[in-house]
Amino acid sequence: MGSHARVKAPSQNTGNVIRDSALGIVPATVEPYLALNAAVWDAGPLSAAEVELARLRNARHTGCVMCQAVRYDVAISDGLTEEKVQMIRGAEPDAELSARERLLVAFVDQYNVDPAGIGQGLQEALLQEFSEAELLHLSLLVAWFNGSSRCAVALGGMPEAMPRMEISIPR
């Protein structure tokens, strides 16, 4: 992993973590980036706690220290506990997770490790538990967070550890 930041962030200080990050030096994509991030949180049927669980599980795959340290306040307000977050930290998700949460984790793992290899058993279990709109929401949020998390890692300068930080959705 790059030991130093590979791109200088803009000197501006708007208070928006995306605009003020290295992403801010490509202005044409900042608004679509913010719009997609907001849509993933606001415009789908999954709860904020479920979105956050999927985001954090994805961050474990990409190795993004910052993504793993962040907690979105909407998910905390929705009832996501730190105990629940710890349950998805291991290679194998905790047995105390609900069946729905374990399926959510399984989908994120499949997306990251071998998307083409999804088996019929997992497909049927997902269809049994999630509605069509929920499955599409889950898919798109993982695609989004996977790309943004990989971007953060590839830009370098990621510390080895960060304290837990609660933030709001940047808009």
Binding site: M1, G2, S3, H4, R6, V7, K8, A22, L23, I25, V26, A28, T29, P32, Y33, A35, L36, A38, A39, V40, A43, G44, T62, G63, F107, Q110, Y111, P115, A116, I118, Q120, Q123, L127, E132, A133, L135, L136, H137, S139, L140, L141, A143, W144, N146, G147, S148, R150, C151, V153, A154, L155, G156
Partner: protein, 152 residues
């Protein structure tokens, strides 16, 4: 054949959740018009990602026109004279990005920046994110992309 809504292709599936897929498409399409990195370079990187994911359907797509010889020799780009130094730097970066983004070296990032600058590196990463995402969605849904779309 996708397993979520039978009979639909990838774009039709995306259309079933327009509030989110519309924003995804807007970002996807915006990257082909960025001044920081050429659409040709981005298309070569997208096609290389499709090869690495073994997505024949995404490799068959044409988001931006590249020459037939470049397509034919893309897998062997290190040995081919058909690719510019900018292409080479971006393709090398793309290959490591696809396998393990944490394994990208400072030298690989510096090589990209030498040709397209720091903002070009950010633009490339944003493009790779949506390219990789769309390819993975098609694979996990088992849904092929629809037709050929032209940009630029």
């Amino acid at each position: 054949m996708n397993w979520i809504v039978q009979g639909l292709d990838r774009e039709q599936l995306l259309d079933r959740l327009p509030a989110i897929s519309g924003a995804f498409r807007q970002l996807y399409e915006s990257v082909f018009n960025l001044p920081q990195v050429s659409a040709e370079t981005l298309e070569l990187c997208r096609l290389r990602l499709a090869q690495l994911h073994r997505s024949d359907a995404d490799f068959a797509l044409e988001e931006f026109s590249v020459s037939a010889p470049q397509r034919a020799h893309l897998q062997d780009w290190p040995q081919s004279s058909l690719f510019s130094d900018e292409h080479r730097a971006c393709l090398a970066f793309t290959e490591v990005y696809a396998m393990d983004c944490s394994a990208i070296t400072d030298a690989q990032a510096d090589a990209v920046k030498a040709h397209i600058g720091e903002d070009g590196l950010v633009a490339l990463l944003q493009a790779l994110g949506v390219f990789d995402g769309l390819i993975r969605l098609g694979l996990i849904w088992q849904a092929s992309p629809a037709g050929v779309r032209q940009h630029g």
